[in-house]
Structure formats: structure tokens, C-alpha cells
Subunit: 471 residues, 2 copies
């Protein structure tokens, strides 16, 4: 049972905390295969002596790796490399040592448009969560049981939507969910009978299609052009296919192309939906991230009263993908059906998280965070756009997105798949158009979700992008 | 816009904090209708002056009531009684002022078996949550995306189940869910095709039936006797109804009757399930709460390898209904199907909560809490059993439950519904047998979930119970 000696290759002058450099060295050894799943690590005392560091430093490194799932401890037996390594093993972006040693290839990823969790107002959130847990309301179990979510958050969200987006949302018509994914699933359950279809944008958001299919609906792609969903094509589809009972749109920043649906087309869409009596599902997933021009209000802010419109939003894009909080606004009886289905699959909301986020909204922390994040992401967008023009101008084209956390890169004369493959080998993960295709041919394009990369990472990523452009 | 003067009837010598006494007085005025929804409250300064207390005290009372959803603040306008009063309005158990003024009737409730959220190790939980939010793993977004849940919690849970229950659960076969409700929904989605049926205990757990129906399955009741689910009746049902594809059981403490399934019947159940090739869904919802005799290991601890058994558990019963964390263990490919459905309806788990609970398990806080809670609940059970015998002996009978958070009270010669109605008028909420009935006649019985009531509250509740016994 004696463990192997562990000769770690730790950076001599790590740019971050020493414990992270140790954690990073161990992670590298696991990735290289020098430390196998199940292998036992030396005790913290022994390793500290071997490395000439304080035992607490080694302990912090082990704790960090346990939190990340690389190691696990067995009481009275020791610390072992996890048998079941985290999914992120292939993408160790989480090891936050900014300078990589020469032996390890830089590993970067353009996401599908995730925010930067490093910006999360974590101290304010931790404080708010603590307040929520220690509050008499939580200890008294007061919020047990409303499938629509904690009243206090529905009230706070109602004010937020009214002041920020012109959406008048009666708290009684709001449903808090676990991220917008659940809101989309519940919307489809409430709006569509099994066997019916939902018209969706193509290219579009595959996770929404999964939610709709899980709810028993089929999905039918409607083409997207430079103005967003083609309402003429939608109209034709509805007339030819009586199964279409709803349409799903991302008018603010179309996913994945980032285009904004213009005012005239918005009115035409509302009119089409109303005439055909179908449900409109509006996903306003990153409303806060508008950098240019006047804010575009959601369809929900100007839809005629009585239109069956389900408005879906998320706080995950605003904070971190790890904060699971979405919401939906819908008229009765759609909301009642959604709440009933939510109770059946999830009983009730998450009282402490909901109370904590209500606090952040009420105290203004969320608004402050949104302003700060908007400033940072806007700068990152500009860095990305400049670097792309400088390195790839002429070979590719793109519109600098007016908002959102991603840029849509057209590359008509290049295979986006081949490009993504070559970039992957060079250490940069990319999402080509095939990722967003339903039935039609995939666009030769890449979605570059840049927000989680800092400016140095963006520069390196564009460098790899340029070097791996297929001939 | 001037607000009405507010003449509050505050207890002169409140037994709790003064701010809670003020909050309580305001709540009473709302409930009495003296303060209407939408009414404006005086400013904190004015009210503090009127009451002769410090302004912070009034502020704390308002904050408390906003957290509970009774009031809401509008920036620059003032504080108002919520238009949309919390569901708990009819049951202000959350207002934790122990001594009620004579004008207000004591309001108590026997639950369906919820734990006491006042016992939650909230400080340890707040600390663990803070650590999780501030950890590099969370800020790095490392845990994004595994639909089975955070690896570190699956590892911690695996050790916990092995040491505590003899259940050998490979972390790769564990799925973390939002409470056991979602685990039950996903179990039915994975095990049963739409149109097929799940055999369930009757009387039984209506929320499980809702989850199964939401997954497209019908439910078929199998009678329960003093030894739990009748396996002979199950066998007959399977033979007569080929739609039955799964059976749902609560063998440890049958819900709602609290009886434990004996060893011989357990073996017979496993044998029946195996011979007919149906899936076994075992809900071990309150394993930790065994007061008497040797611990009874779950079916999952002794099921033959390869049996399609889905084992479902929850940390909500151990901590608080407000902490939404359940889990399921299942063999491949059931687990893969469950994880895929979970991704479609909820994308991913709750990284901070999962990391925080992994911490509580690893540090031993969860085990310490379980031991403490077990001691307290056992004492409460004894107080309840003694009070029932003293006040109602001869009219009713019950077995002192060996475990669990509820007691099943038989009252064959009394209408349980009439009893519940009379007790309700006197201020005690009760759950009669009708609440747990599917197709068969409801048992004349009451489920007394006592765990959330302290000993004084139990005494008062039994007093009301005795006084409202129908003739």
C-alpha cells in the first residue's frame, strides 16, 4: 500500500498561488498518464517535506483537486486519483495557472456563448445565500411548496423585468425554473400536445430542440436570414403543416447567428402567430448584453394582450452557467399547466438560491454586475473583432455583433468542420455550423462564444484560428 | 399617497426578538384584513418613532416580511403589502413567535413527514456554500455540463452510501437530481414506455404517482398490509396486466403507513421482480431515521447483480425540504437514459449546492447532523406516542413507528375526514387517509408527520386532536 514517490514538475516561480501550481502539476501528471486512475498519492506531510513547502499548501492543493473531482479521499486509507475522472479532463481550462509550461499545449475553447464565471459577484452571492439560509423564513419552512417559486423572487423579478425590459409581469404569472432549459421543457409541455410540432429557427439552439422532443413535440426548422427567422417561411410551414402548434424564437440575438430581428419583422411575426392561433415561445436568453444602439424590447413587451406568448429568460447567462436559475412568464392557463408539470417533475423551487437572488436584485448587486460585465464583454468583443480582421481579413467575414456573448464567423469558401478539426488538434475547441443544423445543410460558419476568455486568451485563440485555417 | 397610521398590537413582553414581534403583529393585521393587499406601510422612521423602538428594529421586521413575501418595497415609493400574498397565508406557522396572543388561534400542522428546518446545520451549510462559490473550480466553470451531477458529490455520496447503507454505488452510476421528485420522474421515463403502468403501494405516495403520470405511465395500486406491499397481490397484478413494467416501493418505512417490509417479503419481492423482468424502483426517502432495532439495509444492498433496480434517495429529508437534493443509482443503460432525460429537462446540476453538500458529507457535518436529528426526532416521537395514549387511548390505535418522521394513526370507528375537518377548524391541519388513496377505499387513518413540531407544539396538537375527535 506504500504510495509511489511523486516527482512533481512544479513551476519555479508560479504566477499564481503555489497551491494551484502544485494542483496543476498533479493534474498534468494525471493527464499524461503518469498518475493512473486509482493510484494512491503520498500523504500531505510526506509530499510537503519532499517539495519543501508547508503542509497546508499541499493540503490546499489536494482539496482543490478533490473539489474538481481529480482526486478523492478515503477516510483512514488516503488520497487517490479518481477512477471516474471529470468530463473536463480533456479540457483542463479550469486549472487557473495563467502561464503554461512549454511541455503543455495551451488549451482554449470558444464556447457556445457562456459568460465568464470568473466575473461572478461571488462574495455578494455567498453573503446573500448565507442570509437566506439563516433567515427565519427558511428555518420556518415558509416557502415550502409553491411550484411557481419563492414569492419574494417573483416580486423582485417582476420589478426587474418592468424597469429593465418594459415587460409587465404580474408575479402570479411568473414561474421560476432551474435554468431556462427547464422553462423550455415546461413551455413545450404546456403549449403542445404529443405529436404536434414546434417551428424552430434553423440554424438554431439544439438544447431547446432536445427539451421540446423530451416534452413529446417534434421540431420543424424554419430558415433564418440576416433579419432572423423568416416569417414568410414560417407562414408557409404553418399553412402546409397543421401539426405546428408553436414557434420558438430568439429575436434579440438569434442563436447561433447573433442577428437581431427588426421591428417590422417582429410585428409581422406577432401578426402571423395571432392569425394562426399558435403559441409563441420567446427565448430572451441574454437580454442584458446589448452593446450598441438602443435596447430592443422583447416581443413580450409589445405583444397584444391575450396572445399565448411564453417569455423565457435566464439569470445563468448573467451570472454563471453554474447558477441554475431561469424563469418563464405566461398567461393563464399556460402558466398553471407549466406549474403543475413543474411540481410533478421537481416538486418545488430552490428556496435558498431564490431568496439569495432576490436579495441580489433588490440590493442592486445584479444590476451593478450586469453593467460591469457588459463593459468587459464589449471590450472583449472588440478585441476579438480586431484580431479577426487583422489575422483573417479577406478569408472570412462577420458582422460585429451588436450584443450577446458570441460572434458568428462566416467562412463560405472553407469547410468549417475541417477548420474546427485542425484547430482542435492545435488546442482550440470550436463549434462549427454543423452543431446548430437540424435538417438543412449546415452553414459554413463558426460560433465564437468569446465572453469567458480574457483578452490574452482571445489573442492566443485567434492566433491558433489563423494558423489552422484550411488551405 | 400618505400612508394610514398603523396602530400595531405588539406583545408587551415578546418571548422572541422584538423585530419578530413587530413582524408578527403586521402579519396578523394582514390576515385580519386590517391591512389590505397593496396598502402602503409607514416609513421605518415614522413607525419606529410611533412604537418607541430603534429604526433598525422596524427595518429588520420589514426585511423579514419581505423575505417571507408579505411585503414588497418599491424603490423611491415605499413599502407595500404584497398584492400576491404567499400561499402560506392561511398557515402562518413561519412566524416564529412562540406565544400567541389570546386573539389569535394557535395554528399547527401535522405534515406528511417533513423534517424540522429549524435543525438545519445552516451555518455549516452557509460556510460550505461560500467555499463552493469562491472555489477556483466554480470560477473556472469546471463542472459545467455533466448531467449526472458534480463528480465530487457523486464520489462523496458513493462513500456515504457504502458506509451507511451497504449500498455499493459506483459514482459513474449515480445521478444527482433536484430532490427525489425529479429522480422518480426520470426513473419512470427510463424504465417505462408511455402507456405502460407502474405498480404502486396503496395507500401510497401521491407525488410519486404524479411524477409517474407526468412521465407517461399509468399507475396501478397494490394493497399494503402490516408487512408492507403485498407481494402476492403484486404477482397477481403482473400476471393479469401485461402493461405493468415496473413496481415502486418504500420498503424501509412504507409511505404513509410507516411499516417496514420484513426480510422474507423482501426476498420474495426481489424474486418476483426478477422472474417477471420488471424494473424495481426503491424509494429510500428517510433511511437515516431509524430509531429502534437493527438498521434495515435497502433492497439495493442485496439485490442480485443485473437486476434493473433504481434506488432513489434524498438529502432533503435529512436537511430541510428547502434543500433540493436527491439522487438515483441505476445500472447502465437505465442511468444513461435518465441522465439524457435530465439534460433535456434541466441541462445540468447545481454546482455550488452540490459542492457544498459534498463538503458537508466529507467533513462529517452531515453525519453529525443526522445523529443529532435522530436523537431529537426520537424524543418527539415518544412525546407524541405518550400524549396520544394518554388522551386518546381506547379510541384509536397505532404502532409506535420504529423509524421515520410520521406516525400512522388508525381510527376505524371514526371518520378520519370528519376528524380532520373538525381539527382544522380548531387550528390543527391533519392529513387523513383520503390523501393517500388511489382506487381503493381510503383507510380510516391519519398520517401524523410530527418531526417539525417541537415537544410543546406536539402537546398542543394532541390536545386539539383529542378535543376534536368526532363522537
Amino acid at each position: 500500500m506504500a504510495s509511489e514517490p511523486l516527482a512533481l514538475d512544479i513551476e519555479k516561480e508560479p504566477s499564481g498561488p503555489l497551491f494551484l501550481a502544485i494542483a496543476d502539476a498533479i493534474t498534468r501528471d494525471i493527464m499524461r498518464g503518469r498518475l493512473k486512475p486509482g493510484a494512491r498519492l503520498p500523504g500531505t506531510r510526506a509530499l510537503a517535506r519532499a517539495l519543501g513547502v508547508h503542509r497546508n499548501t499541499v493540503d490546499a492543493a489536494y482539496q482543490e483537486l478533490m473539489t474538481q473531482g481529480w482526486l478523492h479521499a478515503e477516510p483512514a486509507r488516503g488520497t487517490f486519483v479518481a477512477e471516474d475522472l471529470p468530463e473536463s479532463m480533456a479540457e483542463p481550462v479550469s486549472v487557473s495557472v495563467p502561464r503554461e509550461p512549454a511541455t503543455v499545449r495551451p488549451h482554449l475553447a470558444f464556447s457556445d456563448g457562456a459568460p465568464d464565471p470568473r466575473l461572478v459577484p461571488d462574495k455578494a452571492l455567498a453573503r446573500a445565500f448565507r442570509r437566506a439560509l439563516l433567515s427565519p423564513a427558511f428555518r420556518g419552512g415558509a416557502d415550502y411548496g409553491d411550484a411557481r417559486g419563492t414569492p419574494v423572487l417573483r416580486h423582485a423579478l417582476s420589478s426587474y423585468l418592468a424597469s429593465d425590459r418594459g415587460v409587465v409581469a404580474d408575479p402570479a404569472r411568473l414561474l421560476i425554473t432551474r435554468g431556462s432549459q427547464m422553462a423550455l421543457f415546461l413551455a413545450a409541455r404546456a403549449a403542445v400536445k404529443p405529436g404536434q410540432a414546434i417551428a424552430v429557427e434553423e440554424p438554431g439552439y439544439p438544447l431547446a430542440w432536445e427539451a421540446f422532443r423530451a416534452a413529446g413535440a417534434s421540431v420543424r426548422g424554419i430558415p433564418v436570414d440576416a433579419g432572423g427567422l423568416s416569417v414568410a417561411a414560417l407562414e408557409a410551414a404553418i399553412e402546409s403543416d397543421p401539426r405546428i402548434a408553436a414557434v420558438y424564437v430568439t429575436p434579440h440575438h438569434q442563436y447561433p447567428t447573433t442577428v437581431t430581428m427588426g421591428a417590422a419583422r417582429r410585428l409581422k411575426l406577432l401578426d402571423t402567430v395571432e392569425r394562426h392561433g399558435i403559441t409563441l415561445i420567446e427565448d430572451d436568453y441574454d437580454h442584458e448584453y446589448r452593446f450598441e444602439g438602443r435596447p430592443v424590447l422583447p416581443l413580450a413587451a409589445r405583444a397584444p394582450a391575450g396572445l399565448p406568448l411564453i417569455y423565457v429568460g435566464s439569470l445563468s447567462k448573467l451570472l454563471s452557467p453554474g447558477i441554475r436559475l431561469g424563469y418563464a412568464m405566461a398567461p393563464e392557463p399556460l402558466l398553471t399547466r407549466m406549474a403543475a408539470a413543474r411540481a410533478a417533475i421537481d416538486r418545488q423551487g430552490d428556496a435558498p438560491l431564490e431568496a439569495a437572488l432576490a436579495d441580489l436584485i433588490r440590493d442592486g448587486d445584479l444590476g451593478r454586475h450586469a453593467r460591469k460585465a457588459r463593459r468587459i464583454y464589449r471590450a472583449r468583443r472588440d478585441v476579438l473583432a480586431s484580431a479577426l480582421s487583422a489575422h483573417l481579413g479577406g478569408r472570412i467575414f462577420f458582422d460585429r455583433p451588436a450584443g450577446g456573448l458570441a460572434l458568428w464567423l462566416h467562412c463560405e469558401n472553407v469547410s468549417a468542420d475541417a477548420w474546427a478539426e485542425r484547430a482542435g488538434v492545435a488546442g482550440l475547441a470550436l463549434l462549427p455550423g454543423t452543431h446548430f443544423a437540424l435538417d438543412r445543410a449546415a452553414p459554413q460558419a463558426l460560433r465564437l462564444g468569446y465572453a469567458a476568455l480574457d483578452e490574452g486568451q482571445i489573442a492566443r485563440a485567434v492566433d491558433i484560428l489563423a494558423r489552422s485555417l484550411p488551405d
